[in-house]
């Protein structure tokens, strides 16, 4: 690819959609501003390791349609929203009827609400850092808006099933915006899956705006097919004493990229970010996280772990930025990596930028292999190597999986990880 290339104009043609005018206008403005967006190359710092896996052929520019699905969305005791190729499927959804909680489709918003949303979309993002979030803003055709009034509590988790794929190549732009009022509370589970066989680009943006004391738990699973490139962004802005907890579980693909940005803007805000990623074969997965400590007395705790097998490649880039006024910040970041084969590659880069003098910051990154002594101990008890390797690999990530607060998601993620890792040891 020509290193000077800008995004093909084909990606900036929004399909007609039923969005309210205010959102259509906003989208058009974003598209215009994007016209000269350079496609990331090896020289683009935040895409250094992933640009060569990025495939932006014009055939992917059109919106994905079709991709018949018989998926039964089981989610136990929870509410449900189904988003197919970026469009909310309200018939397949099971919306909450809880006072102070609104779950709405962008396309159904009243004009005033749409105008307000158009003002707010993108306001959690650092658009320079997440190029592809801008593309989503130029292309989304519908979206999920969740509004929680002051003190509103959603009693059960809300599952968002994002299913993408089509009969022919294309892209989808799922969009979620959560507006959490003071002391409101929500657990949101996003699950990204694929249908169909056609090549797909899935470009997501999920934004959380947390007022004082709001408390949000976000769980994000990407378990898409090998025909799907996934480029997602999640961003949260926290006012005073708000709390944001995130659990990401990612399975490898031709390209899996997730940018997570948390901005601690109000005094006493805190976040906890956990991530687990597994790759095998030729897969590539890249997690970029940024935590902005803007206000004093905020806390962040981050732990990401990767397991890379075969010739796969996993990337972690974690940045903590302590602003000058953010005294008494407490930030802790850890990234641990496990290589299951000599052909696998992990690149990890913790970055601390500190402009305040009274802070506690710690970061650490490790890359290792399975412990030979532990492996010998297990096989000396008759356990075969595949099972022993799987047990030890799961031991490496279990601590994080166990913290996923929604039981059916935790169990399903665990079972899926075991199957994935077993495959990594097959024929090894």
């Amino acid at each position: 690819m020509n290193p000077q290339a800008t995004l093909s104009g084909a990606f900036l043609q929004s399909a007609g959609s039923t969005l309210p005018d205010a959102l259509k206008t906003m989208r058009q403005q974003r598209a215009t501003a994007l016209a000269d967006m350079p496609v990331p190359t090896r020289k683009t710092e935040n895409w250094k390791y992933s640009s060569r896996h990025l495939q932006l052929d014009d055939s992917l520019a059109g919106t994905l349609v079709g991709g018949s699905s018989n998926t039964a969305f089981h989610n136990g005791d929870a509410y449900r929203v189904v988003i197919r190729n970026g469009q909310l499927d309200l018939d397949a959804s099971e919306l909450p009827d809880v006072s102070g909680v609104e779950v709405l489709a962008f396309r159904n918003l009243e004009d005033a609400d749409a105008a307000q949303l158009a003002e707010r979309l993108d306001n959690t993002l650092d658009s320079k850092a997440v190029q592809f979030a801008r593309l989503n803003s130029a292309r989304f055709e519908d979206g999920l808006l969740i509004r929680l009034a002051k003190n509103a509590v959603l009693d059960k988790p809300l599952f968002v099933f994002c299913e993408n794929g089509g009969d022919k190549a294309g892209s989808a732009y799922p969009r979620i915006y959560v507006e959490a009022g003071q002391h409101s509370q929500l657990t949101l589970v996003e699950e990204y899956t694929s249908v169909g066989e056609a090549q797909a680009l899935v470009n997501t943006v999920t934004e959380f705006s947390l007022a004082d004391g709001a408390n949000i738990t976000s769980v994000r699973l990407t378990i898409e097919g090998q025909q799907t490139q996934h480029i997602g962004a999640t961003a949260a802005r926290l006012q005073a004493n708000a709390r944001f907890e995130s659990h990401c579980v990612g399975f490898g693909g031709p390209l899996r990229r997730h940018d997570l940005r948390v901005c601690l803007e109000g005094k006493g805000a805190e976040c906890k970010l956990n991530g687990v990623a597994v790759t095998q074969g030729q897969q590539h997965l890249d997690n970029h996280t940024v935590i902005e400590h803007v206000a004093p007395h905020c806390e962040s705790e981050e732990s990401y772990r990767n397991i890379a097998a075969d010739k796969s490649h996993a990337v972690f880039n974690g940045r903590i930025h302590i602003h000058p006024d953010a005294q008494k910040s407490n930030a802790n970041m850890s990234n641990k990596n496990l290589l299951l084969s000599t052909g696998a590659e992990i690149d990890t880069k913790p970055e601390l930028e500190i402009y305040a003098d009274d802070v506690k910051c710690a970061h650490g990154a490790t890359v290792g292999q399975l412990d030979e002594e532990s492996l010998f101990y297990l096989v000396s008890r008759g356990i075969d190597r595949k099972e022993a390797g799987t047990l030890l690999s799961m031991a490496f990530i279990n601590e994080l999986i166990e913290q996923i607060p929604v039981e059916p998601v935790r169990d399903a993620a665990h079972a899926r990880l075991v199957r994935f890792i077993e495959q990594s040891f097959e024929g090894a």
């Binding site: 030979e372 008890r381 008759g382 030890l392 031991a395």
Partner: protein, 252 residues
């Protein structure tokens, strides 16, 4: 049952075992004693199949089957069990999960149905009492935060669960106080059976007060230099290794 003929083994190019010959029949308990560095632990590890050690020549058979051709896990399934001198801690894998996986691997090998979690929990609880381990240990990570004595008891518990044909106990007495030593010895004595051979590797004689061996061998400089009955252990305790012409310091 176990037949070792002229076994030579080295680690990182250095020869440690220099021609071991040993025959152990079913039902017998043998003790191998010797100063530090004589090759006792190497022998245990080689028998279990640790590929950090290279067997350069010789033959080892278990009931006529060539052990040296088998992978570690295959040896275990054929009935070889090594109680480690230093059992490894594996945080993140629970003891109960580990034990059940091991037992079910053996059962699968023998064509027996796997044990359910509930069924196995019952068995594991009973067995843990036999070695005086609190059943709470089952929920913890494998050997994680266990004291030296608890680790050794956990090893014996595994032997009781896996019911091996050949149990090799590598310095199972080291680091144990007298009460723990008795518990471990009771466990080992419970393993004694007509169809099972036990090979104890030890530096000290005191374990042999509690587990009385049928034969005692002295290993020094990578070879067995003397064999005898249980009285040989007492003699070693009294006289040390010097009378056998072993310089303990030089052996290290």
């Amino acid at each position: 049952m176990l037949s070792i003929k002229n076994l030579h083994a080295s680690v990182e190019g250095k020869e440690i075992l220099k021609g071991i010959n040993l025959e152990i029949k079913a039902g017998e308990v043998h003790a191998i004693m010797g100063p530090n560095g004589s090759g006792k632990s190497t022998l245990s590890q080689v028998l279990a199949g640790n590929d950090a050690f290279e067997v350069t020549s010789g033959e080892v058979t278990l009931n006529g089957e060539n052990l040296l051709e088998l992978e570690t896990e295959e040896r275990a399934r054929e009935g070889v069990f090594l109680a480690f001198q230093y059992p490894v801690e594996i945080p993140g894998v629970s003891n109960i999960q580990f034990l059940r996986t091991a037992v079910n691997s053996m059962r699968k090998h023998k064509g027996e149905p796997e044990m359910s979690a509930v069924e196995f929990m019952k068995l594991a609880r009973e067995t843990s009492k036999q070695v005086d381990l609190n059943p709470d240990f089952l929920k913890r990570g494998v050997n994680e935060g266990f004291s030296g004595g608890e680790k050794k008891r956990n090893e014996i518990m595994q032997a009781l669960l896996l019911q091996p044909k050949l149990a090799i106990l590598d310095e199972t007495d080291s680091g144990l106080d007298i009460d723990a030593l008795k518990v471990v010895a009771d466990g080992v004595n419970a393993l004694r059976a007509q169809d099972r051979a036990i090979l104890m590797v030890t530096h000290y004689q005191r374990l042999l007060d509690h587990i009385v061996p049928d034969y005692v061998h002295v290993l020094a400089g990578g070879k067995i230099i003397k064999s005898g009955g249980k009285e040989l252990a007492l003699e070693l305790e009294e006289r040390g290794y010097g009378w056998l012409g072993i310089d303990e310091d030089a052996a290290k």
